[in-house]
Symmetry: D2
Subunit: 399 residues, 4 copies
């Protein structure tokens, strides 16, 4: 029988802070009441602050981040439009699959799982696209499957350098609110996220930032859509209402989570993620394990995908952690299944929790058959957390 | 300042029972844990019992009932398919609008707001459709805007009598779980509902029952879809998982609400709705007001749409109830705006609550300028609830 | 099976406001943490505002109001001390019984159940007590069993007029926070209340206001005490701590309930109780029933004790309300058992709830065999609530 | 700003399991309802199972464990009765102080803080007490201040061996439900506990097991008492009611916590405490620190009191843990202040949490100036938890 706190280290849905849980524990209310907008209108503004945008419009669709992926596509593109996408992990692969299903002509660049978005190849193709046939470029800012953070600003530069007019789509589901994300500075046109990662809520809201340029595109885009129609939302959101029943409890939770983020300070939240992630990585390295991410400049501050030694089955590591230690790690997805386990270190987190993750990881690895020198992982993280270890030069450069 | 219990009588989202609230107040958990299916798999079975189906498959999409509308259409029809729909209230009108947006050729039958689905006209058109050009017939079982319950079984008979093969779509958002609904008996192919009405949960789940025939149609249907794709759900649901992050808290709530329904007994739940609704209607009639529903055989047991006298503005009634008495009534939608207020009487409800609704309605009507003889409404309901009034013959026949 | 909201009209424990429930739903915390006082110290100040005292000290004992009764006695009196008390209801009777058990020499004045504290008789006895043998006078401000509010200020005047030095003990369990109570103005020395009435919390805190004079008495009082020792509390409370583990969740709830009270305004809270109580009383009278309270000047604004006709058993009324209508009324206590039911109308309450109480009362009375003309009770209350009825002259004078 | 889970390792109040939190989050209810006993009566039985008694009666007083101390004394003893007590930690000292305040003649045996109850000295004095002047012997089963578990069975044997008739009082506040406790087998007459330790609830219930012999004594005991009077409770508890407003929410929580205990199995709960405590102790020893408990046979399985090196201030350790790592350790009480910090390891706990405690302890010790070789503490615990370390022979013998 399970006892004690659940140790949740999947890279989403993430731990819900107590204040958010409190806030959501409310009776039902009238979503058409005259003062309903007092609750909702501020949420749009708060999300704009999280996206670091002043010019974009924000949408909250009842659904998941996947729904927001679809909303982004169907509202701004035409059937048959050519789009440029990379596949370098499970989530970028799924987004490309969705684009194909929705009738886009997807120009796919495959990169190793562990690499970032292939900026140079994107730049090359955009430069070669003299007629502007590429209507949109898609970037998975943080590939949750591999623990890789890509350089969105560099993709923007690539577009600008060849004066390319394509829309820039960014999947920020596991980065926004946790890793530096700058919608306006980076000229992101469609920024996708969900409620269940850095926003520390249950799943249920697909969130979308849409630039003025993308809003303009939505007026002429001919792809079929109904549930995810921007225009319906625009009309109702003006007063803080929604075209269909919204998840009111999540709005109360979002109010609380935005308050938490702004009280801590968005920059401080991001710095905390960097600090805690570095502790986890040092612990992992001290255990003698390697990350999937190919280079330190790609390390994700929200999730670490960790390769187990070849003779070990990562599923056994995850299974032991779950069944014996009430601890959930993320599994290796698709081609990484069995080779990788993932530690999500995003959202409502602190040093003690990261040390729990590393300690349980050591025990679970031992139970899966690895020779583990207990304590090395936590020790490396403790040195970092207490300031006894030196800060890494590289990360500063990378961010 | 508002004090005391909120009196929520909108026809959804409905009051959340305490046990459901308790059940949802849980920390986040791993939606890919090996035992996650223990939570979810039973929910599909429970929903089948609520739909009264043994043969259909059930889907739970993160989203609203509107999303389930879309899922039903996009998974089973082809672009340009002809479908037969009626418009006799705001929700049937919106569904027809969605069908058009998604590229269907909608054959619309307009009926008065207050009428039911025009079964005879449907029968006539289906009979005339010798080539089977009509691919689907849509029925809004309970038109929430007008408080009208239509006769789904009669539409099924109309289809059967001319051996018509069209799929039967039914919007049961405000009926399923509250008003008798029989998916198998009535040969419903796509039954749509949401979490926030008879299931007494927050919004956030679009629920769909899909017949074997409709599942077969989904394998060849060519309409574009991604988020709402049945096949992805089928694959993942087998083990109790989902293709994207599901709203786990709602699943816990659904477990509790299904338990409540089955402990009371689905038949008893339906009988209770009938009894409480009759009390409300008697109260309304004792106040000298009329329902929008044209005939007692159409009266909805989940919502009553009530016409105010011509000299009264229903918005003022609703406003007074809300601002002075912490009570939410539903407003008149679209063409009924200002002429109608609605009392939702579905979900977690009892006699005392219905009497509160009637009492506050009397006070709010008085404050909006109507000459009210206080106490008549509640008195009529009390007579009914205590058994001092006779049961209506008509309802028995109608149901 | 019970469905819908529970209609709770016992005169305590009272309905818990949602914000209070939210506030209490927190994980456990360290009651010796350096910042624990940030939570607790303000609570003492808030309670002083509720007691309308600037000079008294406030104690919060883990326990019930009965515990605070005991704390008041054991900390300020010596064994064998003579005290003056009245018995005019169940709670004043129990307090006198406690005083005897604790070794006091209780001079009891018996008055009819339905009368207030016999001020004139108290005055007479105090005037006659030339040697000052009476060490304390006890007043039950609001006798919850009979729905009678007594005149504490008049008892103070009686003391002052004969320059009597006795301590003035007041049981304000069902008045403080709901009915005007003025500790400093009235020279109350020991003001007793609990968390579960006007403070709208679960039971668990016995609350005590102690005047400077009573604090001085506590330094020499020789009655045995340990758990309820003021000195231990004084010492620890200075930093916001407690001599033994306090009910932290209740402190969070108290923070929320004090916020609610001060946001509404204490005067407004009291006015609201008066207004709602008047509605209930008018309803009761319109039903043809009488209150236990002997005179309108004694009517309690927190609870109405209602006599049923002689041929009716009040227990059946209460039973029918509970079993059929999910409604709890208070029962007749001790000698009033079977003759009386009580409607508590205090705490988190509004007009709709009062109308529910009256409506259910009519149905329950009918089911218990009374000939009820349905709707009269609610109608009278509605007239009052909507301002269609005239304000009673008497109440203004009385308060 | 604090983020992430709070790491609570004070030896009470302990972490509240989620199911208990859920259970307590209920609206208020009528504590005199006819079915109220359905909730409460089973609780008495459940507590008897936890106390391992079939013959004793159980009381639940609104209050803290300190209140239950008082209830035990005042209901069974006469003023001036001689009682035998030991002082070997802060809580045994406080109990002795209470006994004196309440007018007992306390024969105190002082023992080192870190020693157990001086069984031999008790035996000697009991043997010498030929006239049976000692009316009661008090044992602090688990001295929370020092992390020492004493041998209650040995005290019983000492009583039996000289055929002494004194009542046996046991403070089991921090043992019952976590450390083996056998009321009937050990002939305990008054077993005291509270809700906020092994029962995993908020503070608010003082719980008492009372043997038949002690119940008989209560009928003639002459000590003054009112709030804590057994007889009032006995009378009302028969139907599941209480003489004053009980903390209903805690009853719901207790239902849940008893369910958790019995689902896991009381023996398994005790074994888990032993296993987790052993891990913590091994970790502490691997850090080079010593426990206050003088001998392994005295080690408490619910709390470890840990001496810091002489040059370190334990308050700084506790302060660093709290302010930097959101972690609460217990402080050194009274004479141990600054010399000791305590890790509570009782209630709802698992391996990961113990490792968090050890990891944070290492960091906090380092920040307080100790030279710490990071990772040693967690490593020793991991070896134990994974079975890589050998089981200690001694513990088996001791328990």
């Amino acid at each position: 029988m399970r006892t004690g706190q659940t140790h949740l280290f999947v890279p989403g849905p993430t731990n819900i802070p107590e204040r958010v849980r409190q806030a959501m524990n409310v009776p039902m209310q009238d979503m058409r009441a005259p003062d309903f907008g007092e609750l909702t209108l501020d949420l749009f503004d708060g999300l704009k602050r999280v996206l670091r945008t002043e010019r974009a419009r924000v949408f909250m669709f009842p659904g998941s981040g996947t729904g927001a992926w679809e909303a982004a596509i169907t509202n701004t593109l035409d059937p048959g439009d050519r789009v440029l996408m990379a596949r370098h992990g499970q989530f970028s692969t799924l987004w490309a699959q969705m684009a194909e299903r929705l009738g886009l002509e997807v120009e796919v660049v495959d990169a190793p799982w562990g690499a970032g978005v292939p900026v140079k190849e994107f730049a090359r193709r955009l430069g070669a696209d003299r007629e502007g046939r590429i209507k949109a470029v898609f970037v998975t800012h943080n590939e949750t499957a591999t623990g890789v953070t890509s350089d969105v600003a560099a993709v923007r530069r690539a577009l600008d350098e060849c004066f390319h007019d394509a829309l820039l789509f960014v999947d920020g589901v596991s980065s926004i609110g946790s890793i530096d994300f700058r919608m306006d500075d980076w000229g992101v046109d469609l920024a996708v996220t969900g409620s269940q990662k850095g926003l520390m809520l249950p799943a249920g809201l697909g969130i979308l930032g849409v630039s003025e340029k993308a809003m303009a595109a939505s007026e002429t885009a001919t792809m079929r859509r109904a549930y995810f129609e921007f225009a319906d939302m625009v009309k109702m959101n003006a007063g803080g209402y929604f075209p269909y029943t919204p998840p009111t409890q999540l709005f109360h939770g979002l109010r609380a989570s935005l308050d938490l983020i702004f009280e801590e300070g968005l920059d401080a939240v991001i710095a905390r993620h960097r600090r805690l992630a570095e502790g986890v990585r040092r612990g992992v390295q001290a255990m003698g394990l390697e990350l999937v991410a190919e280079h330190p400049s790609l390390y994700s501050n929200t999730v670490s995908a960790i390769r187990v030694p070849p003779e070990i089955d990562a599923r056994e590591v995850i299974g032991a952690a779950y069944s014996r230690y009430n601890t959930s790690f993320g599994s290796g997805l698709a081609r990484l299944d069995g080779r990788v386990f993932r530690i999500g270190h995003l959202g409502d987190l602190n040093e003690g929790m990261c040390l729990t993750a590393l300690s349980v990881a050591e025990m679970a690895l031992a139970e899966a058959g690895m020779q583990v020198d207990f304590g090395r992982g936590p020790a490396a993280a403790m040195s970092w957390f207490t300031g006894a270890a030196e800060a890494p030069e590289l990360r500063v450069a990378a961010e």
